[in-house]
């Protein structure tokens, strides 16, 4: 099944009958929309000369200051606004960093699974992705060491490790405190650059954010941040925090791409941070997502057939589900669409064709009741698929008889439907 087929299957997701556990859309309607609306209106009516004009390639200085305040919440206290480059979402930030560092054939290390949008960026740069295994505590340090050793043995040029340490997309897991230290030690030992992508870090349900990797080492980590999950993805405002030497290259690259990030949305974010209770709003978001996470985990526990396993996210948007042995999430997708439930097959989160038995479930957008209904439908789909596999998996085609060539099969007609056409005429 090609990508275009997957897209075709997804086209029904826009219909309200379908419960989509596929998309990762933030619940923006939980924002104080009236307040945000008047704020943006005033930015145009009162400050149009600035907000509708070109801006600095590096991004609005006032916003860059406020971005440093945001990063302080995750332990980054030494960031200077001069090290921040505002980007069109952190997606553009990752693209810039990849363009600056990667030549065709270079190797990028990334968790397996990894964020699908990052894999797209690496593919466009013709970089090769070497996945590093993860478990419930995130990236496995020993697997990282092993990957580095393999690459060295192969003569591969490893340009960086790309990691989403908090509430991983798609795996839902978080890199533990001990492992953060271990990963930084490995980076130091092997002179490894780390790209820390952290869009979900402030959306934890149970505890305060863990200190960012960037907070532990300012020279070895390039940090990608985003307002897409804490404020609005439609504004497309993200950033890169990088050492000055790298920052200069990023600014040149972004000027070549987009000249400057959009002024209006940068002013909107800066004004939002200046005038609105944004920390409280993040708590409102987290509480809403926690309720939806609970709906997802409770119904998975109640309904999934034996042999199904899933992660227990403590924040963010996603559950990563492993199907019972032998099932293939991509092959099962038409059945799921037919049952009016959508998910993202796991294979899309691997650059090497792995992940067939996995799927990503998003609980961020549907209401808890819809999530429960979606999981109910999904459980029935998996059960039907298990039933199908129990029929066909044991077939030993090696024992089939020889083919009888030229056999006249005129009498072979469709017995399963032989009554259908008679009353249909």
């Amino acid at each position: 099944m090609q990508a275009s087929e997957i897209r075709a299957l997804f086209s029904v997701v826009s219909r309200p009958e379908v419960v989509s556990l596929a998309g990762g859309m933030p619940a923006v309607t939980a924002l104080p929309l009236d307040a945000v609306g008047s704020m943006i209106g005033e930015l145009v009516s009162g400050m149009g000369a600035q907000t509708l004009q070109y801006g600095s390639g590096q991004g609005d200085p006032r916003l860059r200051e406020r971005i440093c305040d945001v990063m302080a919440l995750e332990g980054i206290h030494d960031a200077s606004p001069s090290e921040v480059v505002v980007t069109v979402g952190s997606q553009q930030g990752l693209d810039l960093v990849t363009r600056v560092f990667c030549d065709p054939g270079d190797v990028v290390l990334a968790e397996g699974p990894s964020y699908v949008g990052a894999l797209g960026v690496f593919q466009a740069a013709q970089a090769r992705v070497r996945h590093v295994a993860m478990d419930d505590d995130g990236l496995i340090p020993e697997a990282l060491e092993e990957a580095l050793a393999d690459c060295r043995a192969n003569g591969d040029r490893v340009k960086f490790l790309y990691t989403v340490p908090n509430f991983h997309n798609p795996a839902g897991v978080t890199l533990s405190e001990e492992r953060r230290e271990a990963v930084m030690a490995i980076a130091e030992k092997h002179d490894l650059l780390i790209i820390e992508d952290n869009p979900y870090g402030l959306l934890g349900f149970e505890q305060e954010p863990l200190r960012a990797l960037r907070a532990r080492n300012s020279q070895r980590v390039i940090y990608l941040g985003s307002f897409s999950k804490t404020f609005s993805p439609g504004l497309r405002v993200g950033w890169v925090l990088a050492p000055l030497a790298v920052r200069e290259k990023l600014v040149l690259a972004t000027e070549a791409q987009v000249l400057c990030p959009p002024s209006l949305t940068q002013y909107a974010v800066a004004r939002y941070l200046d005038t609105q209770p944004w920390r409280e709003q993040i708590k409102i978001f987290a509480e809403l997502y926690r309720e939806r996470r609970d709906a997802a985990l409770d119904s998975l526990a109640a309904l999934m057939p034996a042999g199904t396993a899933w992660t227990q996210p403590q924040g963010g948007f996603y559950v990563w589900l492993k199907l019972p042995h032998g099932l293939d999430a991509k092959r099962m997708q038409p059945r799921a669409v037919g049952a009016h439930v959508a998910y993202v097959p796991g294979i899309g989160f691997f650059a090497d064709g792995n992940g067939r038995e996995f799927m990503r479930l998003s609980y961020c957008y549907p209401e808890p009741d819809q999530i429960r209904e979606g999981v109910r439908r999904l459980a029935r789909v998996i059960e039907a698929e298990l039933d199908l596999h129990s029929t066909f998996d044991q077939v030993d085609t090696g024992s089939f008889r020889a083919i009888t060539p030229g056999h006249d099969a005129e009498s072979i007609v469709g017995p399963a439907n032989s009554d259908t056409y008679e009353d249909g005429r």
Binding site: A8, V395, T397, I403, A409, I412, P415, N417, G424, R425
Partner: protein
């Protein structure tokens, strides 16, 4: 070509009020994306032909919408279930809304590929041997024994396809017996009955039939030459992945027999207005019926519009004429 249609009449007189058409596209099936693309083309074509055409999804808003703002006729550009299996048309019949295309019962027959093949074969038309079975048969009789029989009787390669549905979704060519169980599993994800068909080597053609009021006429055959060798979903809807020849590069005699077959299929299945028969022409010139579509794709890369163009017609004019006929107004 003797079976091609005459050119449509000139458009309606300028003083008549424009016909109002509702074009149905979207739906809740695997083919939603294709359908939306078809529907957009239909709306553009009808608008060019001077018809007031509006695109709508087949959802809970449809019937109240049609009641509030009646259409002179509906054009169904829905692919897949509901649009093609006759269900929606039965509802439009209940509502007394005229629509372009085949009646509900004929659609139901054509939608069921094995049933349609039975009828077509009974009428003396060649079609590859097949067997269609639900999952329960494999479970109850043992999948190994049933698949063994299928391979022994039908040989290899085999075509494995869902018993209903279009756009080649779920269709696979199986050349090695060890790939057959996995192909069955994939195919059953699309529906509860799978049709396994003997593979016939040859040139694949699409045979469009249109009835502008004076009986079904075949349009020139469109020959399909997929770059990959298999005319699957990607080959169909990715521009450049398939080369089409319209009219097909066929001998005059073969082209005539292909056209006759398409018209005959249209007639024996009781179809109306338009259809597209997919067929294989073997190297010795034999035409094999594969399946027929009552709601053929009308996207920019679809074969029905290519056939219309190859006949020297304008798609919008042809669709407008079909619509006007159903609305009881001549064009």
């Amino acid at each position: 070509m003797s079976e091609t249609a005459p050119a449509p009449e000139p458009a309606a007189a300028a003083d008549a009020p424009p016909l109002r058409a509702v074009v149905l596209a979207g739906g809740l099936t695997f083919e939603r994306e294709v359908s939306l693309s078809s529907g957009t083309q239909v709306v553009e074509g009808l608008t060019r032909a001077g018809i007031d055409a509006e695109l709508r999804d087949a959802d809970a808003e449809l019937l109240p919408g049609l009641a509030a703002a009646p259409a002179d006729a509906v054009f169904i550009a829905l692919h897949g279930a509901t649009g093609e299996d006759g269900a929606l048309r039965a509802v439009l019949d209940l509502a007394g809304v005229p629509y372009v295309g085949s009646a509900a019962a004929a659609c139901r027959l054509a939608w069921d590929k094995p049933a349609a093949k039975s009828v077509v074969r009974s009428a003396g038309i060649t079609t590859p041997d097949w067997v269609a079975l639900p999952h329960s048969t494999f479970r109850e009789l043992g999948a190994g024994a049933v698949l063994d029989l299928m391979v022994a009787r039908l040989g290899l390669p085999l075509m494995v396809k869902p018993a209903s549905g279009g756009s080649a979704l779920g269709v696979q060519k199986v050349s090695r017996v060890e790939d057959l169980p996995a192909a069955m599993v994939s195919c059953f994800a699309y529906g509860d009955t799978v049709m396994v068909e003997r593979y016939v080597e040859g040139v694949e053609v699409a045979l469009a039939v249109v009835d502008l009021g004076d009986g079904p006429q075949a349009l020139p055959a469109v020959e399909i030459e997929p770059e990959s060798g298999v005319f699957d979903y990607s080959s169909r809807y990715t521009p450049g992945l398939t080369e089409y020849h319209a009219p097909a590069r066929l001998d005059e005699d073969v082209a005539r027999r292909a056209a006759e077959l398409a018209v005959r299929v249209h007639e024996v299945l009781g179809l109306a207005d338009l259809s597209r028969t997919d067929a294989i022409i073997t190297p010795d010139g034999e035409v094999h019926f594969l399946e027929v579509n009552v709601s053929p794709g009308l996207t920019e890369t679809s074969m029905f519009p290519m056939a219309v163009e190859a006949a020297g017609f304008e798609l919008g004019e042809v669709l407008a004429r079909l619509l006007a006929n159903r609305a009881g107004r001549s064009r």
